[in-house]
């Protein structure tokens, strides 16, 4: 295999702002806080940053901050900039930064995702409740009239079909939620940290069958920043370099919440397989997986998509929680995931992956050298394989 272009890139810095249920601070404020920390973490100054990449960019869902606001506030001088929602999921912002660095368009790209969903009490994706849906993409105009404005409803339909075909159970979904809650207890920034039993999980109110409240992630405020640099900078990165081994970006079927060809998986099926096509590492080499759990079932399907188990075997794989515990064969969402850590919209997984490979995570996986990061649900999906050192 010729060396994939993404191996030119490293993550030289990473940081988060304060994270909370409701911080009542602006997205820009949080983004500046995380940015300055990340720049320092990378051993750089504001003047070294010559690129910005963000998801979803100006006007995107769940509030936040645009690249231009940050650019203007910190007075960056940029060689390259990007911010958009039509990409390989939330991690698309990282994918593009990596490509910009590999292409020589920029040397140090500041990549961020900021959410201020908690403070805003933001209306969920789809914008139900207010006025009409003028401007709504056509695909959503066949969902919203039926009272389903939330991704909870759309994803619940897939989870239901997965249960029907494979016998997946609520208790198996619960293993993901409980694992997340247990790990969150050690994360000082996590939103939900009280212990949760299976009884608690099963007893909470149902939102949209089969999802109860604890299958749904928790909105929050916070900003996550990583600095993507050229690997030439690795020896100078004061906190070490995390290497990009492979990226997964594919979407090989309809970009749709309701018309995807297989009702038991989602776009991660394609992004995951495209990632493995770009590396000689395999699922067996992965020491920790940080996988999107905007809804519990998504993490289960990411596990299947990345090949940690066979298709449809995600339920038995996570059952009981031992395999996905920090000392299990596939430590999962060691920071608490979005279910308990907070909906940082994909970037919480990325941050945790970097911390694990540096060896500085709150719940540290022993001898962690390879981390798989997957973000997104529905047609939004992208992944990264990160390594300690070049592999």
């Amino acid at each position: 295999m010729t060396e994939p272009l993404e191996r030119q890139a490293i993550i030289s810095g990473a940081a988060q702002s304060d994270i909370g249920r409701r911080l009542y601070r602006s997205g820009l404020d949080l983004t500046v806080e995380a940015s300055l920390r990340a720049i320092e973490d990378a051993g750089l100054t504001v003047d070294d940053i010559d690129g910005i990449s963000t998801y979803p960019g100006m006007g995107g869902p769940f509030g936040g901050c645009s690249g231009a606001e940050l650019h203007d506030t910190l007075r960056f001088s940029l060689n390259w900039r990007d911010g958009a929602a039509e990409t390989s999921g939330q991690l698309g912002a990282v994918h593009k930064a990596v490509l910009a660095v590999a292409a020589g368009l920029a040397r140090h790209v500041l990549v961020f995702r900021t959410v201020v969903e908690g403070s805003r009490g933001a209306v969920r994706a789809g914008g139900g409740g207010g006025g009409g849906m003028g401007g709504m993409p056509p695909a959503f105009q066949y969902l919203i009239p039926y009272g389903v404005t939330s991704a909870a409803n759309w994803i619940a339909c897939y989870a239901q079909r997965h249960m029907h075909e494979y016998g997946t159970t609520r208790e198996q979904l619960g293993a993901i939620a409980i694992n997340a809650r247990t790990n969150a207890a050690s994360n000082p920034k996590a939103i939900y940290t009280d212990p949760m039993s299976m009884e608690d999980y099963l007893g909470i109110r149902t939102i949209s069958d089969p999802f109860g409240l604890y299958d749904c992630d928790v909105p929050c405020d916070g900003s996550t920043v990583v600095i993507v640099s050229h690997r030439d900078y690795a020896p100078d990165a004061p906190n070490g370099a995390v290497h990009v081994n492979a990226m997964g970006t594919a979407l090989r079927h309809r970009p749709s919440w309701d018309q995807f060809d297989d009702l038991t998986t989602m776009a991660m099926r394609d992004s995951a397989s495209s990632m493995w096509e770009r590396t000689e590492l395999t699922a067996a080499d992965v020491d920790t997986a940080q996988l999107y759990d905007g809804f519990s079932w998504l993490a289960m399907v990411w596990i299947e998509a990345l090949g940690f188990c066979g298709k449809g075997e995600g339920g038995p794989f996570v059952e009981g929680g031992a395999r996905i515990a920090p000392d299990g064969e596939l430590p999962l969402n060691t920071w608490g995931g979005q279910l308990s850590g907070g909906r940082l919209h994909g970037f919480g997984f990325l941050y945790e992956g970097v911390m694990q490979l540096r060896g500085t995570a709150d719940v540290q996986v022993s001898d962690c050298e390879v981390a798989a990061i997957g973000a997104g649900g529905g047609p939004e999906s992208g992944c990264l394989l990160l390594t300690k050192g070049i592999r």
């Binding site: 009409g132 056509p138 105009q141 066949y142 389903v148 404005t149 339909c157 149902t206 949209s208």
Partner: protein, 138 residues
């Protein structure tokens, strides 16, 4: 659901208006390609299979099968009172097309994957909203 139909926020895109008015004569219509005969959903300006622009609403039987569903139990929209079923229905004419809908005419707990269903229409202002109820084929 409450008195009168729930708010549905229908404001169709250019190619989709027929979908919400077709039910005036009791018949569900999907966009159909005059060149290759395939059904297209959601409707668009060009056939995704053969790129023909000879596209017209074509009546379908309105019969299908529940591919999957969820019982929504949370109020997201004032006036759209839970619980209600949102389902994806595969139509007999082309099971690769899924119609998003509410299942009516039975208890929410009675809805199941594989259930046979048939269209009916809810008159909602100027629109005829396709809904589905259980189909008794015995």
């Amino acid at each position: 659901m409450t008195d009168g139909p729930p708010p549905r926020f229908i404001s169709p895109h250019a190619e989709g208006e027929f979908y919400w008015t077709a039910g005036a004569d009791g018949s569900l219509r999907l966009q159909r390609c005059g060149a290759c005969g395939r059904y297209i959903h959601p409707p668009g300006p060009v056939c995704p299979y053969c790129h023909s622009r000879d596209l017209n609403p074509g009546p379908v039987s309105g019969k299908g099968t529940v591919a999957t569903f969820t019982i929504n139990r949370k109020e997201w929209i004032p006036g759209f009172e839970p619980p209600y079923v949102f389902a994806l229905v595969e139509l007999d004419e082309d099971p690769t097309i899924r119609i998003g809908t509410n299942i009516v005419g039975c208890a929410v707990e009675d809805v199941a994957i594989g259930m046979r269903v048939e269209v009916e229409f809810e008159e909602n202002g100027e629109w005829f909203v396709p809904l589905f109820h259980p189909l008794d084929e015995s």
